[in-house]
């Protein structure tokens, strides 16, 4: 499979601050690639370097076969960008901005434009100055996905969208993928990433800390089981591969290695299972593993109490 984006050893300094510190990322052609990290970790800087808006200090980048700084204009005909905080011209209408961005990108499919306006329930006759945050976001999304491009760079595209619009967005990305296009999706919303992404990259302090498919990332991990039984569960700790057992009356919760699930279930049904919640680690948990030390112990305790 060919790479849409391959970055290796990318370095970018702002004055004395090193925003990207030997960052690596590979996006395969035709995939939806999740790009995760808290604010300030270097996500937006990476995207701006890919757009040729910032000049890299070191590192190799291959973007659709070209160099993002040198070949910016030619490459920009083949990609569309949805920025984090969408800023528009207050005196132009949403429809005008969509047409303008499409034209500047090198063309726009009118049928697709109409379909997208309808899907996102966007009124194109309103001036951008009167749009809410969510509506400005929609203008950028409609403008991007009405263009016939190979690669979409999306920086927090669903922030500000309501659940129905998030559904519309997911549908749009899924369609684009089916048509063979590549999507890089930077997002704080784990649910979106879990629903859409084939592979993910997690960035921390300008470095790649994890990359791979969600299944790969989960593979080495344990499943969390929460179970409510008719009789108190006994002897769980004697089973192999069972960890972190907490029993409160008839409620039990514990972690189990993925290859020991069957033995554990056989054990559990002896006690009359009333309800069972079993799930592989969520993306949120995978993510927090890399950022755990940023969250104080107190907060971690808090989290356990609320989940």
């Amino acid at each position: 499979m060919t790479n849409a984006v391959s970055i290796s050893g990318l370095v970018k300094n702002f004055g004395s601050v090193r925003a990207l510190d030997g960052f690596d990322m590979t996006v395969l052609a035709g995939e939806v690639h999740g790009f995760l990290g808290p604010n300030g970790a270097g996500k937006s800087t990476t995207i701006r370097v890919l757009l040729g808006l910032l000049r890299r200090d070191a590192g190799e980048i291959d973007l659709l076969g070209g160099d993002p700084w040198r070949d910016a204009v030619a490459l920009h005909r083949r990609l569309a960008y949805v920025p984090d905080e969408v800023k528009l011209w207050p005196t132009l209408t949403g429809g005008e901005v969509i047409d303008l961005m499409g034209k500047l990108r090198g063309g726009l499919d009118p049928a697709r434009r109409a379909e997208m306006l309808d899907r996102f329930k966007l009124d194109p006759t309103k001036k951008c100055g009167t749009y809410s945050k969510g509506n400005r976001q929609k203008v950028a999304i409609v403008a991007a996905f009405s263009s016939d491009v190979e690669l979409f760079l999306l920086d927090e595209p669903t922030s500000g969208l309501d659940p129905l619009m998030v559904m519309a967005f997911r549908e749009t990305v899924t369609e684009a993928r089916r048509e063979g296009r590549t999507v890089v999706l930077s997002s704080h919303i784990f649910a979106d990433v879990e629903a859409l992404c084939d592979r993910i990259t997690i960035i921390r302090q300008g470095k790649t800390v994890q990359a791979g498919t969600l299944d790969e990332l989960r593979h080495l991990t344990r499943t969390l089981i929460e179970v409510e039984t008719e009789k108190a569960v006994e002897d769980l700790d004697k089973l192999p591969g069972v960890h972190a057992i907490q029993i409160e009356g008839l409620q039990a919760s514990f972690q189990v290695d993925s290859d020991e699930i069957d033995r554990v279930l056989r054990h559990l049904v002896q006690f009359g299972v009333k309800s069972l919640h079993s799930a592989p680690p969520s993306l949120e948990e995978l993510f927090m593993r890399h950022y755990g030390d940023d969250v104080s112990r107190q907060e971690a305790a808090e989290k356990r109490g609320t989940l």
């Binding site: 701006r48 757009l51 040729g52 808006l53 910032l54 000049r55 910016a72 204009v73 030619a74 920009h76 005909r77 990609l79 960008y81 920025p83 905080e85 969408v86 800023k87 528009l88 011209w89 207050p90 005196t91 132009l92 209408t93 429809g95 005008e96 901005v97 969509i98 047409d99 303008l100 961005m101 034209k103 500047l104 990108r105 090198g106 194109p124 006759t125 309103k126 001036k127 100055g129 009167t130 950028a140 760079l153």
Partner: protein, 544 residues
């Protein structure tokens, strides 16, 4: 109801601390302008000369549009000549600040945040009124002191200040009302400014339709003047009759407007206006769909208002040219100044050179402002999205440079044409005057472009300091230039810094190619260097 104003005091402090820079700058700028104007017009005018300037405003109906003749005294002369300009400045200040603290807060959602705190419904509006009325009172006192200090009668000086403050306060009330009616802050500002325009025209019509006394130095205005707050201010006739009682009319009308605004504020929902929202096209016209088209669309409104402004000014300058000739003949001293600045002893030519020189500086402001928009789009606007499309940086900057350069050139053409054609109509021989003055306008284009080129260079090299550097360049070019530089008698080598000094003094002198080619070369060099620097640097966004 009493609770509806809770928190007014606290919000007043917020407004003052927000405006701790802007408001004093406005007030001091208006005061400084008053000092400058009074110093220039203070020349030792003899009684005959005062009579002749009063007659200038009294006898010519068209000139009455811009001032009300009110006797042959120095104070009355300053009032008739400067009143409208200062009235407009003060009214615009009031409108901008009231809208900023009311409607703009609603547009941005800040009013909602404030409204969720323990703050009454009308507290924001009331605090805006307090701040702006206070600013006007302060300005009135300052103007009174300035005029007194210049040796004019004390009571009349303060009456003059009060007349301006009255107008400012009236338009504060009107802006408060407009903020309730319009759906956006732009709409509210537009509505209130339209009211100001109407007030200006109505007062002018009242004066034009009025009668002049036998000596030709005092005009009794017709009734329309009494329909306009600008008219009321003129009818106070500071330095003649000092009708203090007219302040009651200002106070009463402000209270009515403010009460109306408060009433409408209880009737409407936060964030919504009473007038319906305007819609726009759902698809772009082909003209918009290029970087150049986009910048033109963004700049169009600004350009058109500038075109109308300088065009009107050109017509006025052209129309008074005949009288100017007659008047200047009688005024000792003025011809010397004009001669020194204009570089010619043909008085009318010298006067035109001076006017063109001043207008060139004013039009250069258009160029600087227009180019600074580029930086605003980069730091806190959609420029990033545009440059993420198939638009190169060169193309993006060039679209601005092209728009601004051509717009600036067009403004010079408009000024030349309007002055030339009207002067031609007044003095005969339209074709010759028009040709002369169009050239007189166009020769300034390269100098304005040099300043613009310096702005592009600043933008390319120091994005975060662009605005500061741009205005510094402008101020240096203006101060060392032919108008102020000559007035201040600056050494020649300092005057030579300004590009404007190298502009041929047309219509007095003939046009020579060397300075024009030199200035053009300089402009191209600066612009090119700026472009090169911009293409090599990072895009710099403020919010982090």
């Amino acid at each position: 109801m009493s609770q509806a104003f809770t928190g007014t005091l606290a919000l007043t402090w917020v407004a003052i601390s927000r405006d701790r820079i802007q408001l004093p700058v406005w007030i001091l700028a208006v005061a400084a302008f008053m000092v400058a104007v009074v110093s220039i017009w203070n020349g030792d005018l003899s009684q005959e000369e005062l009579v002749s300037v009063a007659q200038f405003y009294g006898v010519q109906p068209a000139v009455r549009m811009f001032g009300l003749a009110s006797g042959a005294t120095l104070g009355a002369y300053i009032m008739s000549r400067g009143f409208v300009v200062f009235a407009v400045l003060v009214a615009v200040m009031s409108i901008l600040f009231v809208v900023r603290h009311t409607r703009q807060d609603e547009d941005t959602g800040r009013a909602e945040l404030i409204g969720s705190a323990s703050v009454g419904r009308h507290a924001n509006l009331a605090s805006a009124f307090i701040v702006v009325v206070g600013a006007n009172v302060l300005l009135a006192v300052l103007i009174g002191l300035i005029l007194t200090f210049k040796g004019l009668p004390v009571a009349s000086s303060f009456a003059a200040g009060a007349a301006f403050a009255g107008i400012g306060i009236f338009f504060a009330g009107l802006a408060g009302l407009a903020a309730q009616l319009a759906g956006t802050s732009r709409g509210a500002t537009g509505l209130a400014l339209a009211g100001l325009g109407l007030a200006f025209v109505v007062a002018g019509i009242g004066n034009i339709l009025g009668r002049v006394d036998e000596a030709g130095v005092r005009v009794v205005s017709a009734w329309p003047a009494w329909l306009s707050p600008v008219g009321w201010g003129q009818q106070m006739r500071a330095f003649e009759e000092d009708h203090w009682s007219l302040l009651g009319l200002f106070a009463f009308s402000f209270l009515v407007l403010a009460a109306g605004a408060v009433f409408l504020e209880t009737r409407r929902d936060t964030g919504k206006g009473l007038l319906p929202e305007r819609r726009g096209p759902s698809a772009a016209s082909p003209g918009l769909l290029s970087p150049v088209g986009l910048v033109w669309r963004l700049q169009r409104g600004v350009f058109l208002s500038w075109a109308v402004g300088v065009g009107l000014f050109g017509i006025v300058v052209g129309a008074v040219s005949a009288d100017l000739e007659a008047m200047l003949d009688e005024l000792e001293g003025f011809d010397e100044i004009f001669e020194r600045i204009g570089g010619t002893d043909v008085i009318v030519d010298a006067a035109f050179v001076t006017f063109m020189g001043i207008l060139a500086l004013v039009i250069t402001i258009y160029a600087v402002q227009g180019l600074l928009r580029m930086r605003a789009e980069e730091s806190d606007g959609p420029a990033e999205s545009v440059m993420a499309t198939a638009v190169s940086r060169r193309q993006w900057v060039t679209s601005y440079i092209l728009n601004i350069a051509l717009g600036t050139a067009a403004l010079f053409l408009i000024v030349g044409l309007t002055v030339g054609v009207t002067a031609g109509i007044v003095m005969g021989d339209v074709a010759a005057w028009a040709a002369d003055l169009v050239v007189a306008g166009l020769v300034h284009i390269p100098a304005a472009w040099v300043v613009a080129g310096a702005v592009v260079l600043a933008f390319g090299l120091f994005p975060r300091r662009t605005a500061l550097l741009a205005w510094m360049v402008f101020v240096i070019a203006a101060v060392t230039g032919p108008f102020i530089g000559a007035m201040l008698d600056l050494p020649e080598w300092i005057q030579n810094i300004s590009p404007f000094i190298h502009v041929p003094a047309v219509p007095g002198e003939s046009v020579t190619a060397a300075p024009i080619v030199g200035l053009l070369g300089m402009a191209v060099l600066l612009t090119g260097a700026g472009l090169l620097a911009f293409r090599r640097r990072d895009i710099d966004v403020t919010s982090v």
